[in-house]
């Protein structure tokens, strides 16, 4: 616990530039990850009901 906290402090918190950058990067990564997780839950819950699930039946050419 203590060792881990120390390592965390020394590598991330010590320099403000590193600290702020890692907060921004962490927020970005979390945003992407959270969004991906929710979307995959949403798509599996609503399987077959959304437009992207039935779209293939109606598109004629590949570029539309």
């Amino acid at each position: 616990m203590g060792a881990l906290a120390n390592a965390f402090y020394n590598s991330v918190v010590k320099r403000n530039s590193v600290y702020v950058t890692s907060i921004f990067a962490g927020a970005f990564a979390f945003g992407v990850g959270f969004d991906t997780a929710i979307t995959s839950f949403w798509d599996s819950w609503n399987k077959g009901k959304q437009w992207k699930d039935i779209r293939d039946k109606y598109v004629q050419d590949a570029d539309s």
Binding site: F34, I38, F41, W42, K49, Q50, W51, I54, R55, Q60
Partner: protein
């Protein structure tokens, strides 16, 4: 503030503040007192509170406040809440209460069934559009919901729209574009009334939001036509429908088994068409529905996590203050001087 300090603490300032404090008992002064900072003490505060609660002025003002709010509420809303009422109205006046149907989109996480929206558009176009407009929906709105871009463009081009003026100041006809809105069946309200025995077929864009019972009501209305019960007088040109308030509606039954032919092979029964068109109209009234539920899910998760974190941090930060003890050791009594 003063009441939160032990009596002995004020011994030295007693002479300055007044005689009340100088008469504190001598043993209390000698006993060292310890208590938690968060506990409340002070009998003077509680007795002040008691005399406030028991006072006539409080009683009078609370009574006045209560009577005032009841009067205000009844004048505003007519009745009091939570008190049962008896109505002489029958279901005939307000319309039969529609049952709740298990819509494919009614759950917290359920999106619209877009295949149903597509079939519902077909029912609207082939049946309802003869009388009902759909002002707020443009062709582009169908793209990515029920139709592809090419399909929507092709459908729009089949309709002639008036545009202009051109260089000569003339209005001209042109084929529809994606940005055009659904064409109305009648040029104006008067024409619509004239074509429907004086009754105006309402615009259907927001009809699901505009009626009590929403999709359940409209489904029940479309499928609920039957012969009037014995003794029910119905005017010429009106139709009996138990779900419509008043039970006599100008719109005749429009959906019959096999009226449309679905491209995806779904049997076009009356109830299937009603379900599809209501799903379509529900989408028209709430096009943001799918995205709203998805964002709502994210918001609930994030905000509950943030609430939990802030509660934890508050307890963590306050734990020191909440659990500390304040100890006061009075100096030895030097009353001999």
């Amino acid at each position: 503030m003063l009441s939160r300090l032990p009596a002995g603490a004020l011994r030295n300032v007693g002479a300055v503040v007044g005689p009340r404090f100088s008469c504190s008992t001598s043993n209390a002064r000698l006993v060292s007192r310890a208590r938690f900072a968060s506990t409340s003490s002070g009998s003077s505060a509680s007795s002040a509170f008691e005399s406030f609660i028991n006072s006539r002025a409080t009683l009078a003002s609370v009574t006045l406040f209560t009577a005032g709010s009841i009067a205000w509420y009844t004048s505003l809303y007519g009745t009091l809440p939570f008190i049962g009422e008896v109505h002489a109205n029958s279901a005939a006046d307000e319309g039969l209460h529609p049952p709740h149907y298990p819509w494919s989109h009614s759950g917290w996480f359920d999106s619209f069934d877009h295949a149903s929206v597509r079939r519902g558009y077909q029912v609207y176009r082939e049946v309802c559009a003869a009388c009902h407009s759909l002002d707020r929906i443009a062709w582009r709105n169908l793209v990515g919901v029920s139709h592809t871009v090419d399909e929507a463009k092709a459908m729009a081009e089949e309709v002639e729209y008036e545009d202009g003026p051109d260089d000569q100041g003339e209005m001209f006809q042109r084929p529809g574009k994606l940005s055009d809105y659904m064409p109305p069946p009648y040029a104006n309200e008067e024409a619509a009334r004239a074509g429907n025995g004086g009754a105006l077929p309402p615009d259907l864009s927001l009809i699901v939001k505009a009626r009590h019972g929403g999709p359940d009501y409209i489904f029940s209305l479309l499928t609920g036509y039957r012969d009037p019960p014995a003794g029910f007088e119905i005017r010429e040109g009106m139709n009996y429908n138990p779900y419509f308030p008043g039970n006599a509606i100008s719109m005749a039954r429009v959906l019959f088994d096999g009226l449309v032919e679905y491209a995806d092979g779904t049997p076009a029964t009356t109830s299937q068409m009603a379900k599809d068109v209501v799903t379509f109209l529900n989408w028209a009234a709430e096009p943001e529905h799918d995205e709203r539920k998805k964002s709502g899910l994210k918001a609930v998760i994030l905000f509950s996590a943030l609430t939990a974190i802030s509660l934890y941090v508050k307890r963590f930060k306050w734990s020191v203050i909440k659990s500390r003890k304040i100890i006061y050791n009075p100096p030895a009594d030097k009353s001999t001087h």
